[in-house]
């Protein structure tokens, strides 16, 4: 199994840490992983994206032109990455702030109201966990228990009390993802 994902959005949306948790979860179940951010001056306030690969085999190129799944969280990213989903692949997006919705028909498209749900849960910071939940519903490449393990590994001790909240957010995402 090899899953090649791009997660793309604004700098502040937790794109990089969502990728990181995914990668950590992969490690928890003994898989190979890679996490490659776009970096550079445009990071400052602008867009951010990260390519995550989770695989049973040694990973070759950590940067890719085409992806199994694209998780898209703003319009710029939609413009840039809709085309990069492999035929038959998955595009998951949060419609908040999206003006031009995806139009491809050779891929499966999912929607998650991550921003709205996180706000409803009273904590906009868990937005990315809601999206992660949605993703994992669609592509259960890692088990929830390994996600929690990964969270524990990647979060400093003092944040471990937040893990249950994160778990709730993931569940919320899993429940609310909608196929278009």
């Amino acid at each position: 199994m090899t899953e090649e994902i791009i997660i793309a959005g604004f700098g502040g949306q937790g794109v990089l840490s969502m990728g990181k948790i995914l990668a950590y979860s992969g490690i928890m179940q003994d898989q190979e992983v890679s996490w490659m951010p776009s970096y550079g001056p445009e990071m400052r306030g602008g867009t951010a994206n990260v390519t995550v690969i989770v695989s049973d085999e040694r990973i070759s190129s950590p940067t890719l032109s085409f992806f199994d799944t694209a998780v898209i969280l703003n319009q710029q990213s939609m413009d840039k990455f809709e085309e990069t989903v492999k035929p038959g692949g998955v595009l998951l997006y949060d419609p908040n702030g999206i003006s031009k919705h995806p139009t491809r028909t050779d891929i499966t498209i999912y929607k998650i109201e991550g921003a709205r749900l996180a706000a409803e849960m009273g904590n906009t910071k868990i937005f990315n966990m809601v999206v992660l939940g949605a993703y994992l519903k669609v592509k259960p490449i890692v088990k929830l228990e390994n996600v929690i393990k990964g969270l524990k590994k990647s979060l400093p001790e003092r944040y471990h009390k937040l893990i249950p909240l994160n778990e709730d957010a993931i569940t919320m995402g899993m429940k609310n993802v909608v196929k278009i």
């Binding site: 490659m36 970096y39 070759s60 032109s65």
Partner: protein, 361 residues
């Protein structure tokens, strides 16, 4: 099995320095490698192992701090990226001339000049041929994964002390910025001062009681003495060339063609091999690990065995390809495919280049 972590290449390198028993890190921030010093400052290795970490006023100061520290027999290291490494060239030439062990890491970015901060491999020539003035060579390791960003640090220190030479680790923005699973090796204790004094009698750390003073210098005013010194260096380089060639072969046994690549490019090329094999093209990958000494011998062997051609896959305008050509010496086809200025090639276009330049060509 060592500790498993998800880390950036730069972080793995920094952690590896601590675990390799480094005594000192001296550096100046520059993208895309500032995480090295940031990690170290956050990790406070002076509390963990006694390792010294200092943010220098410049790369020129950093490299000369390595001269000072390495010259006392301590394990010292710096890291920077292309423009900063250029500034170090005088210092590197001095280190080579005075035979001072140390590790210098270049997390290469696009050039020339200020260029950009994206991954590149256009400092190959600087690393293995030119750089500073005079006849010298630097053992140069090119990691192609976060794991190797960690693993190559103790290897580099070993080479540095075995041969009394500065050693380069040439990485790039991709390897430096990406995260992968890394198995951290078990910490190697720092040498005690007493061990250093015993192991490195050449080092200048206080004249031994009743013994002779030690000197670190690259100055030999009499040209005949300097020539002798240079012959000594050349013999050392010959020795290194004999012992320290490192490479890896992938899908090479039955290959008609070989990609030759290192670092990031070798990751991309690995994917291209997969794509090619899916199309039935028999191509393998010769991954160069030591940029110098160069894997000329294995290239020679494949040439002798009648390989149909080599494609040098570099993020440069064509630098390593010269060393491949020198090894092949006209006996088979050698081509180059490169993207410039920080653009990373896609696996698809690498395959296309193979088809056009070698198979079709």
């Amino acid at each position: 099995m060592g500790e498993l972590k998800l880390m950036k290449g730069n972080e793995a390198l920094a952690e590896a320095a601590i675990r390799a028993g480094a005594d000192g890190y001296f550096g100046y921030p520059i993208t895309p490698q500032s995480e090295v010093i940031e990690y170290l400052m956050a990790e406070k290795p002076w509390e963990r192992t006694g390792m010294v970490v200092l943010q220098a006023e410049s790369e020129v100061a950093s490299i000369n701090m390595l001269y000072g520290g390495g010259g006392t027999g301590k394990k010292v290291m710096t890291s920077s990226s292309s423009p900063g490494i250029s500034l170090m060239q005088e210092g590197i030439s001095y280190l080579a001339g005075a035979e001072i062990p140390c590790v210098v890491v270049n997390v290469v970015r696009g050039g020339p000049g200020l260029g950009d901060i994206q991954p590149s491999q256009s400092d190959y020539f600087q690393s293995v041929k030119g750089g500073g003035h005079g006849d010298y060579r630097l053992p140069t390791l090119a990691p192609s994964s976060v794991q190797e960003m960690s693993d190559f640090v103790p290897v580099a220190f070993d080479l540095a002390f075995k041969y009394r030479t500065p050693v380069l680790i040439v990485s790039d923005g991709l390897i430096g910025q990406m995260m992968e699973k890394v198995e951290l090796f078990d910490p190697i204790p720092r040498w005690t001062d007493e061990e250093i004094v015993e192991m490195h009698p050449w080092a200048t750390n206080g004249k031994p009681k009743g013994g002779e003073r030690r000197i670190m210098t690259s100055l030999y005013l009499d040209p005949h003495v300097l020539e002798e010194h240079n012959y000594k260096l050349q013999r050392k380089y010959a020795e290194i060339t004999k012992n320290e060639v490192r490479y890896e072969l992938l899908d090479a046994e039955d290959a008609d063609y070989l990609f030759v690549a290192y670092g990031s490019s070798s990751r991309i090329a690995q994917k291209s091999v997969k794509l090619a094999r899916e199309k039935g093209i028999k191509v393998g990958l010769l991954r160069i690990i030591s940029l110098w000494p160069f894997a000329s011998e294995i290239i020679n062997e494949f040439t002798e065995k009648g390989i149909k051609g080599f494609l040098s896959v570099e993020m440069s305008a064509g630098q390593m390809v010269e060393d491949i050509k020198l090894a092949v010496n006209g006996r088979t086809k050698v081509e180059h495919f490169g993207r410039l200025g920080g653009v990373i090639h896609s696996p698809e276009e690498v395959l296309e280049a193979l088809e056009q330049k070698l198979i079709g060509g």
